[in-house]
Amino acid sequence: MSTAALHVDHHADHHHKESFISKYVFSMDHKMISKQFLITGIVMGMVGMIMSLLFRLQLAWPDEQFGILETLLGKWAVDGKLDPNFYMGLVTIHGTIMVFYVLTAGLSGTFSNLLIPLQLGARDMASPMMNMLSYWFFFASSVVLLISVGVETGPASGGWTVYPPLSALEKAMPGSGLGMTLWLTAIALFIVSSLLGGINYISTVLNMRTKGMSMNRMPLTIWAFFFTAILGLLSFPVLLGAALFLIFDRSFGTSFYLSDIYLEGVGALENIGGSPVLYQHLFWFLGHPEVYIILMPALGITSEVISTNARKPIFGYTAMIISLMGISFLSFIVWGHHMFITGMNPFLGSVFMILTLIIAVPSAVKAFNYLTTLWKGNLRFNPAMLFSIGLVSFFISGGLTGIYLGNAALDIQLHDSYFVVAHFHLVMGSAAIFGMFAGIYHWFPKMYGRMMNKTLGYFHFWLTFITAYLVFFPMHFMGLAGVPRRYYQFTLVKEFDVWMDVNKLITVSAIVAGFAQLLFLWNFFYSIFKGKKSEQNPWQANTLEWSTPVERIHGNWPGEIPTVYRGPYEYSRPDREEDFFPQYIPDESAPEVLQPEETQKAPSEKEEETVETSVFFAAIKRVFGLS
């Protein structure tokens, strides 16, 4: 108790000392950092979305001229017609932004930072300093990426996977020049950011839980962030390695990925002995876990939001954790399903096919568990709940097509077709974006102390949900008919003509979807300043973050950190009047008989850890002999 009191004092006077810079710019408070991630993510998301609208215009009306394109893009859209190289650049940067900047940093960065300390009962992250660095590396990375769009020769344009030799040879494509260098720089900075964040999340989860918060009382959000961080920590370094080799090939004359190349205007290159396919192995060793890095936080958020708003315990808490664990493990050994037709050994293809289809099982379990959680619930449809239900819908529709793509034989026809675009936009794009929206609507009161407008949220949800399906569902059919992705224009092939009306439908729907996001933007920024003041626990939720005061303070809790008495999903207990039972409220009468898994677990006796006990600085101090 005495230490806690001390800390309170410390935080109080610390608060006064903070300058604008240290409070809002180089802040070390996890809540502020989380907002920095969120705002940057939203800005990048808008950029990515606008890019997709620009290239969708080209696909729907390839013969039309759009004055606005020329105004916006100058020499890349002479006479209002998009340049093919720049089209590829837009697609590449769109994919990069969406995958890494919005759905990795924007989603996981925001909510891991916000929720790990708040839901576990910690005053901050294990290392607030590294946390701040993580954000600023991310910021620098975003700046470099955006600068790369403006360079003379155009941005990186070999697709977000930037396969060499295309990305390695400056002469192969204009975007493979300076644009590609900047892309690699941006990604390297991004990886640093992501590693700094990941180490921090893991150590916080392992070391800094409050009294009584045993691992099996952690909300599923935290479990999801935890596994996500582990995945990132193990896979991002491999991407860094791949990128480094690529940098070497580009600038220092090595041949990791190059062999037997003759380039128009240059002649036969010296490079021999490298393998372009090696890059693909390295890339997808990150790339596949990456899709789960994107998806798992969204699934965690959904578990929390669905349970809260169904007023019902999440069904199969343990099964959810086991399937997360299974997915995490398996995601490291399925990367080859992106490479069935690269010419790798057919037997290897078979192995990857089997492993890939195994991963469908834990995913199916998750979907069934969500459905059962809804069953006989008492569902309150606030925007967060709607977006979570939307996520479940996309997760199912998009996940099922994975069964086609994971099958090596079926992939012969489907690889790199629009079927793939449909698949990953549903299961990874739409589902994860919906998880992100669910999280924003749900935790907005925690971030800003105000409520977002619900009605606007409903409009935002239904418009986005319907248009997302209109955009991505028809793409399945295009893919099945053999329409390749990453094509600048389809009118040069007679057979693709029948898809022109579909292309128009998709573009129009995408534009409507874009406008629907304006509703969100308005709602978000308006509510920050003018939204209704929030109550302390506006959704009557069980988890710890709602025990903190509405006005967000440094150190999170003014007094002692609450103790945790039970699991996070005790909704609608028959023996209670209210339909929720927060984790931090002590039992007056009945002990924990009602949750059989929990009965044996006495609150852990572990010393309560506080923000100052940064394991990392302790370690560094020891290493450098400071104490």
């Binding site: 001390l6 810079i21 180089f26 070390m28 759009f66 004055g67 020329e70 105004t71 093919p84 300093m129 600068i147 396969y163 030799p165 192969a172 204009p174 062999s259 037997d260 003759y262 128009e264 036969a268 396919v277 007023r311 019902k312 069904f315 099964a319 037709i341 010419g343 289809l357 099982v361 379990v365 568990n369 006989k376 619930g377 008492n378 449809f381 819908s393 199912i396 529709s397 069964i403 099958n407 034989a409 012969i412 026809q413 690889h415 790199d416 619900k454 009605t455 606007l456 569902f473 099945l480 053999g482 990453r486 057979e495 579909v502 509703l519 609608s572 207990r573 028959p574 009602l594 940064s614």
Partner: protein, 488 residues
């Protein structure tokens, strides 16, 4: 408390360092950007599409009105204490409506666009196995799709909030969970086994008598190489590629030409190297003159070229590039010399090979396509035949298949007199990736094919010493002729 020192350290020292770093870095970024970002095109009002601007403004206004309206709505609700609209129910109903409309949409799509799908009329032998497996997968996934989506929205409707009800306090049910782990496992096992068999058959069952055709990919087109009289393809190497030998086949005459050409280029480069100092002086003078006379502002385009040249010269990039080019060409020469020593490599089998700009295949005859790529990764994609394989520089790949439907038959089935099979590029490979294709024609009989083959020139024409092959830069799609149809 002992950690507080560390905190102070964090706050003051490290933060200050960071602030410093960023204050230094930001102008650097800006500097880098100013040089790098092209100046914005002059703003011109006529470039704006006024209708779209107007629409945007209108919609923004609408958003404001909506937000206002519902704020007032909720206020009245609070004041009167009565619920005017139960948004919870509205959402539940909208959910059901969306579900029904959505399912109708799915059904419509299946019927309407389903007919354009390539499934069910594959033009190759393994294609029908493929299609049947597709239907099994489709049947299973579509069933699950409908059931789960219907349940999702049905639950949403059925269990919408009711004050008088309490949700079921229900944590888990082991039996249920085991069931829905086991059932998907069984279904997936079935699909995996089928997939495994089909995949193995497609990739490893190659009939002995298959005809080999080399399919060669480059930015941005395709070439095919058929064996000549000797029924065997000659060897190739990327070092042999030249304007007259686009595929780099090992044919002595062509290689000799290439050696002469390369040696000539090396000599020219050496001259350039020797006179580099003079050239640099000239370029400097040119640059200075343009700057001093103000011509750089009158002719910015020209000046840019002059400036680039000047920059390359003074930074030494020009000379480094010369050196690099010489080294590369010398390496090529020495490699070629090495290969020429190997008489087995230059076995003369390449001389009668025929390099064509379209593919002609015979129905029911097994083929092995051997893929090569010249510059970057491409992918040979023939959706009608359920064929796809990447073409990777430095790594030969192959795909074996047997066409079962002639072009004529396909035209009849599709009711489209103009239909043709194509092989598309399906791996992003540069700016013209979307227009990299080669026509594939399947003919009924060997005779038709042989007639066509006879019209194609061999690499070395029997009479002439070195016949010029088609230059490698032309797009195969545009230069394609259609002899098979003419044959009829």
């Amino acid at each position: 408390m002992k950690f507080n020192t560390l905190r102070v350290l964090n706050n003051s020292l490290i933060k200050k360092t960071l602030v410093l770093l960023f204050t230094v870095l930001t102008p650097l970024f800006a500097l880098a950007a100013s040089d790098v970002i092209e100046p914005p095109k002059e703003f011109s009002i006529s470039n704006f599409d006024w209708v779209s601007i107007f629409t945007v403004v209108l919609i923004l206004l609408m958003i404001l009105v909506i937000a206002r309206a519902f704020d007032i709505g909720s206020l009245t609700e609070k004041l009167t204490g009565k619920t005017i609209v139960s948004w919870n129910n509205v959402n539940a109903y909208v959910g059901i409506i969306v579900l029904i409309l959505g399912m109708i949409g799915v059904w419509y799509e299946l019927n309407y666009h389903g007919k354009y799908l390539k499934l069910g009329n594959s033009a190759s032998e393994h294609g029908s196995t493929y299609d049947s497996m597709f239907y099994w997968t489709f049947g299973f996934t579509f069933f699950v799709f409908v059931v789960t989506e219907v349940l999702l929205f049905y639950f949403m409707f059925k269990y919408r909030y009711n004050e008088n009800r309490k949700a079921l306090y229900y944590f888990h049910n082991n039996k249920l969970e085991v069931i829905w782990t086991i059932v998907p496992t069984i279904v997936l096992t079935f699909l995996v086994l089928r997939g495994f068999n089909t995949w193995s058959k497609i990739t490893t069952d190659i009939p002995k008598d298959s005809q080999e055709i080399e399919v060669f990919a480059y930015q941005f087109g395709w070439k095919a190489r058929y064996a000549g009289e000797d029924k065997e393809l000659g060897n190739t190497n990327f070092n042999f590629i030249s304007g007259t030998n686009p595929l780099g086949v090992a044919e002595d005459g062509a290689i000799k030409e290439l050696i002469v050409e390369l040696e000539g280029e090396v000599a020219k480069l050496k001259v350039k190297q020797a006179t580099a100092a003079d050239s640099i002086k000239v370029w400097k003078a040119k640059y200075d003159r343009m700057v001093s006379t103000g011509l750089n502002r009158t002719y910015p385009e020209d000046f840019k070229a002059v400036k680039d040249q000047y920059n390359d010269a003074i930074s030494g990039a020009y000379e480094r590039q010369l050196e690099k080019d010489i080294k590369r060409k010398k390496t090529a020469l020495s490699r070629i010399a090495e290969y020429r020593k190997d008489k087995d490599f230059f076995n003369g089998k390449a001389s009668d090979d025929k390099i064509t700009t379209e593919l002609v295949l015979v129905k029911n005859k097994p083929y092995v396509f051997k893929f090569r790529a010249r510059d970057v990764i491409h992918s040979a994609y023939m959706p009608d035949f359920r064929v796809q394989m990447n073409c990777v520089p430095g790594m030969p790949t192959q795909f074996a298949f047997t066409p079962t439907m002639t072009t004529e038959q396909a035209r009849e089935i599709k009711g489209n007199k103009e239909f043709d099979y194509y092989l598309y590029c399906n791996k992003i490979c540069g700016g013209a990736h979307y227009n990299m294709k080669i026509k594939v024609t399947v003919v009924e009989s060997e005779a038709e094919y042989l007639t066509w083959l006879a019209t194609q020139a061999p690499f070395v024409a029997p009479a002439l010493p070195a016949a010029p092959a088609t230059p490698s830069t032309t797009d195969s799609a545009t230069t394609t002729t259609t002899p098979t149809v003419a044959l009829k």
